[in-house]
Symmetry: C2
Subunit: 400 residues, 2 copies
C-alpha cells in the first residue's frame, strides 16, 4: 500500500474545487512520506503510530528496548543507538525520519541525516540538548529567560553566584529529564557541593523563579512553513514529573497571546518541522521561558480529546509533508498522568468526559504508564472531573 | 502488561468520590478483558484495534487473508475459518472473542463459544445471517418491515408474488453484502429467471420500498445492559455500496426518536453486547427496517470524528466489560467513502474539518480503501465540505 499511495500522491492532480474553504496550497513539492522511521519506541512513539496509521503511514521504530510500547503499532528495530549497520537498514526502509526521544547521539543523527530527511532538523535537537545554548537561543529571539550562567569549572562557581544570586537551580547542561540531574540551591555555600553531587558535569546555574504558575505551549510547523499553535496550558508537577495539565491555562488574554507568540517565534527560528513544546513560568505577571522540548510533549496529551487534530497527528502530518489541521479547543480540557500504576480502567471511564490512554508498560515507580484526558462544558466542571481523576490516579500512583 | 492490568482490575477498590458525575455502577462483576480475539482482520478490525490499544487492550485477529489491514495493530493468526486447531489456540490466547465479519460458520462459532465468551452473543449472528429470520424478528419486536416471503422452491414463487407484489427485490437469504446476491424485480415474469440467476439459492422476496431516504442507527450495548444510541444518520448508496453518511439525518424529530427507539428495542431483544447498526428506509413519512448489521458498521464511521466515543471504542469497551461513554454529536458530521482508489492525502486534508482514515489496502474496483470524516459548524457548511470531499473521492473512486 505504501508504494501505491506514493505513486498516487505524485500523479494525482490538484482538486479543482472552490478555494474559499480550502486552506493555503501546499508550498512544498515533496511527495507525501508513507513510511516514517521514529527514533524511540516509548509511549510517545506508540501515540505517534496510532495517529499515523489512519493517515496511510506505516511507522518503523528504532529502540534498543525489547518491550517498547510502540511495537504494537509498527515494526520495531531493536538495536543499539550506535549500531551503524542497523541504523543504515532502518534509514533505507523509510521515506523520512523523526524522533520521540531526544538523547540520540549527534553522530548517529548525522549518519541518518546523510541518508534520509530528518524532521525536525538536527538543529532543533542540537540546540535543545544543551541548556545553555537553548537559553541563549531563547534570549536572542526575544523570549525572556531568567539569569543563568555556565558552570564547567570550579573557578566559574563564584561568577555564577554573582550573576544569578544565591537562590537558584544547578542543572546538568544535557541529558536531564523529569527533574533528574538537578539540585536546588538556597545558600551560596551549597553550590560547590551540589556541583560535586552532579559529578562536576558541565552545568547551568539558573536563578530560581518564584513562579505563580507553570504553563506550556505546544505548536506544530509543517514542511511548507505553516504553523498551528495550540492554546496555552497550565501544568502541575510533583517531584519534577508532570501530574496534570489544564487547557486553556487560567491566564490573562495578554499573557496567553504572548506565550503563543513566543512559541511561534521559537518554532520559526528553529526552522522546526513537527511538534514542539515551550515550557514557561508565570511569575509576578510576566512570562519566563524554562525550556523547549523538540518533540511531542506530555503537556500536549490533552489534545487527543480536546482538539480536532492531536499533537501526534499534527507531528506525523508535518513529518510526512501533509498540511496541518484545526487545533483550537472547543471546551475546557485536561490531562492527568498515571505514574507507576494504573487504577481500574472501568473506574476511570465512569468519570463523565473521561477517556483513558494506557501505554502497555509494566508498572514501576516514577514511570509514566498512561494518562486520562478529560473535557467538560465549563472550567468549574472540568476542575471537578479533574479532582476525581486525580483522586483515582493518586490511589495507584507511585512517584518514587 | 495485560496480566498485570488484569490483576489490578480485580484487586483495586471502587473510587470513593462523590457520585453525582459518575455514571451508573458496573452491574457486572467480570474483570476487564485485556486480550480480545477478533474474527476478521479487515478495516473494521484495524479500526477496532486502533481503539483498543489506548484502553490497554491487545487484539489478536483471526483471518485467512495474509495481507489483513488489521495486522498493523495486533497479532494476526492466519488460518482457515474451519481450522479447529488454529481456532483453539486463538481462543486460548484471549479473554473474550468478537467479530468484524459476520459470515463465520455456525460450527466454528460454537467451537469458540465453548471456550471463551463470544460477544455479541451467537444469537445476534444467527439471526442476522438469515434475512427471513431477521425480518421476522424485527416484526415480532414491533419494528415495521415491508411485506416479504421466502422463496426456497419453484412452487413458492407464485405465493411470494401474491404476498409481496410484482415490484420487489429478490435476495439470497444469507451471505449477501454491498448489493451482491440480489435482483430487482419489476414484472411478475422476471421473478423465476432472477431466482435461476441466483442459482436457486434459498431466497427472500421483499416488496420494493420507494424510499425518500435511507437512514441507519448505530448503537452499543454494554455487558451490564446499558445502551448508547448514536444520532440517526442518512446514507447514500451507489451500486449497493455506501458512498456517504450525514449525521444527524435530515428527519423530523418524531421519526428520529422512533428510529433510535427501534435500534434500542433491537439491541435489547438480541441481548447483544457490542455495537450494531439498524438500517431503515424512510418512505412516505414512515420508517421501514431494512436490515441489522450485528457489528460496527460503515454508516457509523463518522463517529470517529463526530463524537467523543467512536463506535469502535464503544464496541471494544462493551466486549471488554467496560462502561460506555458519550455518543452525542456536537456539530453536524459526515463520512465519505473512498472506493477502489485514494486521492492525494494532502488534498483531502486541505478541506476544512476533514480527517482521513486509510486502510492500507491495495486499491481494487469496488473495494473500500479508506474514508473521509467531516465536521462543520452548520449543516449547510457540512454539505459544502461534503461536496468537496465527494468531488475528490469521485476522481479516484472505481465502483466496478
Amino acid at each position: 500500500m505504501s508504494e501505491s499511495s506514493l505513486e498516487q500522491g505524485q500523479s494525482n492532480e490538484r482538486a479543482r474545487v472552490a478555494g474559499d474553504v480550502l486552506t493555503k496550497p501546499n508550498a512544498s513539492s515533496s511527495p507525501t512520506a508513507t513510511r516514517i522511521g521514529i527514533l524511540g519506541g516509548g509511549q510517545l512513539g506508540q501515540m505517534l503510530g496510532l495517529a499515523a496509521i489512519p493517515l496511510g503511514i506505516e511507522c518503523v521504530f528504532f529502540d534498543p528496548a525489547r518491550e517498547s510500547p510502540a511495537r504494537l503499532v509498527g515494526r520495531h528495530v531493536c538495536a543499539a543507538w550506535d549500531d551503524l549497520e542497523a541504523l543504515a537498514q532502518f534509514a533505507d526502509s523509510v521515506d523520512a525520519i523523526t524522533f520521540e526521544f531526544e538523547n540520540v547521539s549527534a553522530k548517529s543523527l548525522a549518519f541518518l541525516a546523510a541518508r534520509k530527511p530528518v524532521r525536525p532538523g538536527v538543529r532543533s535537537l542540537e540546540l535543545t540538548c544543551d541548556r545553555i545554548r537553548e537559553k541563549e537561543f531563547l534570549r536572542a529571539n526575544g523570549v525572556p529567560v531568567q539569569p543563568f550562567a555556565a558552570v564547567s569549572s570550579r573557578s566559574e562557581l563564584d561568577l555564577a553566584l554573582a550573576t544569578v544570586g544565591t537562590h537558584g537551580v544547578l542543572k546538568t547542561r544535557s541529558l536531564g529529564y523529569d527533574g533528574k540531574g538537578q539540585r536546588v540551591i538556597r545558600h551560596a555555600d551549597e553550590l560547590a557541593s551540589a556541583w560535586d553531587a552532579l559529578d562536576n558535569a558541565p552545568c547551568i546555574y539558573e536563578a530560581f523563579v518564584p513562579f505563580d504558575r507553570e504553563v506550556s505551549v505546544v505548536a506544530t510547523r509543517a514542511l511548507d512553513g505553516s504553523i498551528a499553535v495550540y492554546p496555552v496550558v497550565e501544568n502541575v508537577h510533583a517531584q519534577g514529573i508532570l501530574v496534570r495539565s489544564i487547557a486553556p491555562a487560567r491566564l490573562s488574554d495578554v499573557l496567553a497571546r504572548a506565550a503563543e507568540e513566543h512559541a511561534r517565534r521559537v518554532i520559526e527560528a528553529l526552522d522546526h518541522v513537527g511538534t514542539l513544546a515551550l515550557e514557561l513560568f508565570v511569575a509576578d505577571g510576566t512570562l519566563i521561558a524554562n525550556e523547549i522540548a523538540p518533540r511531542v510533549h506530555n503537556s500536549g496529551h490533552w489534545t487527543m480529546s480536546g482538539t480536532r487534530t492531536s499533537q501526534f497527528e499534527h507531528h506525523m502530518r508535518a513529518v510526512a509533508g501533509l498540511p496541518l489541521g484545526e487545533c483550537s479547543s472547543r471546551e475546557p480540557a485536561a490531562m492527568v498522568n498515571l505514574i507507576g500504576g494504573v487504577p481500574e480502567t472501568a473506574e476511570i471511564l465512569r468519570i463523565s468526559g473521561a477517556n483513558v490512554h494506557l501505554y502497555h508498560k509494566a508498572p514501576r515507580a516514577g514511570r509514566k504508564v498512561g494518562h486520562i484526558t478529560l473535557v467538560a462544558p465549563t472550567m468549574d466542571e472540568l476542575l471537578n472531573r479533574c479532582a476525581m481523576a486525580q483522586a483515582l490516579a493518586q490511589r495507584s500512583n507511585r512517584l518514587s
